[in-house]
């Protein structure tokens, strides 16, 4: 796996509202090497800054030609500095990192995203055939369903849900999934579920898949210092004992490998 650590120019920074932004960086070698589900570490602010000290992990929204895109939300000091970057500014970027999604064009694919968990799923959706792909996206409210329309050309069906009912089905995306799983199983197909989102949502998806005997891969988040397997800071409990490291074992993991009971 080829990893690069380079300084690259910001091409665009689009404010999508609700503190959500779409960042485009010109990084040809990283863009060409990137696979769906992988991530990059981005350095916030000037190279001289020590606060924030660490780079921040960002899942790759997608790569197109020489450009790599990140869909993210401003949550703290680091993301605020990255959000302040303008076209032409140079950002330090390390990637692509980690293990991405298993891509299976032969099975029916169900992609489930909650909140900004939709970010890495878009890259996966672009890599799958439209036929046989179902996408389910949920968020607290319609404004937080960032770039949901971008998914439309990449799936046979796109279902939306919001906690407040402002768009799509009123309720949780996991409720959408539960109904859909039953209908899919009735057709005799065993789908592959790929999920990303807040921990409780991903855990619920993993549980649903587990009880229905459906394979499930999850893209997980963790606090990271290095992103490259050096610090061992991003540990999550492994099923059967010990720990997995989100940066090198993941961020995409077979849901069956994760100990969901003791996790967070």
């Amino acid at each position: 796996m080829k990893r690069l650590d380079i300084s690259a120019p910001v091409l665009s920074q689009q404010d999508l509202g609700h503190g959500i932004l779409l960042l485009a960086i010109l990084a040809p070698e990283i863009a060409k090497a990137a696979l769906p589900g992988q991530f990059c570490m981005l350095h916030a602010g000037s190279p001289e800054t020590t606060d924030p000290l660490l780079r921040r992990p960002f899942s790759i929204h997608y790569a197109d030609g020489d450009t790599i895109f990140f869909l993210y939300r401003v949550v703290g000091k680091g993301t605020r500095l990255i959000a302040a970057m303008r076209p032409g500014d140079v950002i330090r970027i390390l990637g692509p990192l980690g293990c991405g999604f298993s891509i299976s064009a032969e099975t029916k694919n169900i992609l489930v995203g909650g909140g900004l968990g939709t970010a890495p799923l878009f890259f996966l959706a672009r890599s799958l055939p439209r036929e046989g792909t179902t996408i389910m996206l949920g968020a607290k409210t319609s404004g937080e369903l960032a770039r949901a329309d971008a998914f439309l050309p990449h799936a046979e069906k796109v279902f939306l849900s919001t906690d407040d009912g402002s768009l799509g089905q009123h309720g949780l995306v996991t409720e959408l999934l539960a109904g859909h799983i039953q209908r899919t199983l009735c057709t005799g197909f065993l789908p592959l579920v790929s999920a990303c989102g807040p921990w409780p949502m991903v855990r619920a998806v993993a549980h649903l898949c587990h009880i229905n005997g459906i394979p499930c891969q999850v893209s997980l988040e963790a606090r990271m210092a290095c992103g490259t397997g050096l610090c061992l800071g991003c540990a999550i409990p492994r099923s059967g004992g010990g720990y997995l490291h989100v940066c090198t074992d993941g961020p995409v993991l077979d849901a069956a490998l994760v100990d969901w009971e003791t996790s967070q």
Partner: protein, 305 residues
């Protein structure tokens, strides 16, 4: 005016390093993980992730939290154990042309001796760094590093078990680091490295609980540099053996401060996690500085006081 190429090589007891820059334990894995991002062969050496007799799973998450200009960690010395290390990690390290230092952690004096004995016979390791200062494990480590007599006992056990040069890594979480340093020197250590992380904590105010599952952790990064530098200065003036400076070094200027304080070499830790090439950038920065200021050897930079 430009001066001739300065000599960056240094001696740490019987060890000869091509330059005074080593990667610190716990920030460079077992060496290979960084090989595609940094030229390890250009470094003075690497200090590998701490190894215990048996594999250790490490602490539950969250294990890390960022603090102002610092990183608080409670990894808990997750490691593969000495047997797997020798079987699976050490062979590929033999191809790297740099000084390989293995860091060891025991839960008893006997375990430290046993680890040293095994490494001595393994081949491919050039020196042992004895961790008596990890704040994140319950048994061993810390307890040995805060008491001069216990620190000396561990040092002696390791020295008796190996012919390899022994570097003892000291904790800053003591009232007088020079008392521990002198005890370890008397017990036969070839060199000292300091400091390990500063014992600290952070609280997640939204969740109203400690930010780390382990509650306490070790603080590293630029935030601790002035404390580390002071301890290196004091220790250099208290012992006769070489001192390796560690603590928040981010730039060549930071490293030069430690060398001027009298450190024979320095270790680069947390900043490698942010910038994998920091260590090699620091090496060229030191060389430029020496050229500009007319220093021909690393030890010439020491402040005599």
């Amino acid at each position: 005016m430009s001066h001739p190429r300065p000599d960056l090589s240094v001696a740490i007891g019987p060890l000869r390093l091509r330059n005074p820059i080593l990667l610190a334990s716990g920030t460079c894995g077992y060496g290979r993980e960084l090989a595609d991002l940094v030229d390890i062969g250009a470094l003075g050496g690497i200090v590998l992730k701490g190894i215990s007799l048996k594999p250790r799973p490490g602490n539950p998450p969250p294990r890390i939290v960022e603090t102002p200009s610092g990183l608080l960690n409670a990894i808990g010395l997750e490691n593969v154990g000495i047997d797997t290390f020798i079987e699976r990690k050490l062979p590929s390290l033999r191809e790297i042309d740099t000084c390989i230092v293995s860091n060891i952690l025991g839960e008893s004096v006997e375990e430290y001796g046993e680890l040293a004995r095994i490494l001595d016979m393994a081949g491919g390791v050039h020196a042992i760094e004895v961790n008596i200062s990890c704040p994140n494990v319950k048994a061993g480590g810390f307890a040995f590093g805060t008491d001069p007599a216990a620190a000396a006992e561990v040092t002696l056990a390791v020295k008796e078990s190996t012919c390899l040069p022994v570097i003892v890594k000291l904790s800053p979480n003591v009232t007088d680091i020079t008392a521990i340093a002198r005890a370890v020197e008397k017990a036969g250590a070839d060199a000292l490295s300091l400091v390990n992380t500063l014992f600290g904590m952070a609280i997640d105010i939204r969740r109203r609980r400690p930010a780390l599952a382990n509650v306490f952790g070790g603080l590293s990064g630029p935030a601790i540099r002035p404390v580390a530098l002071r301890m290196v200065w004091q220790t250099v003036r208290a012992v006769g053996i070489p001192v390796i400076g560690i603590g928040g070094i981010r730039t060549a200027g930071d490293a030069i401060e430690f060398l001027m304080a009298g450190a024979r070499a320095v270790q680069i830790g947390t900043i490698s996690l942010v910038n994998p090439r920091a260590s090699t950038e620091i090496i060229s920065g030191i060389e430029s500085f020496m050229r500009e200021e007319g220093f021909s050897r690393i030890t010439d930079m020491r402040i005599d006081r």
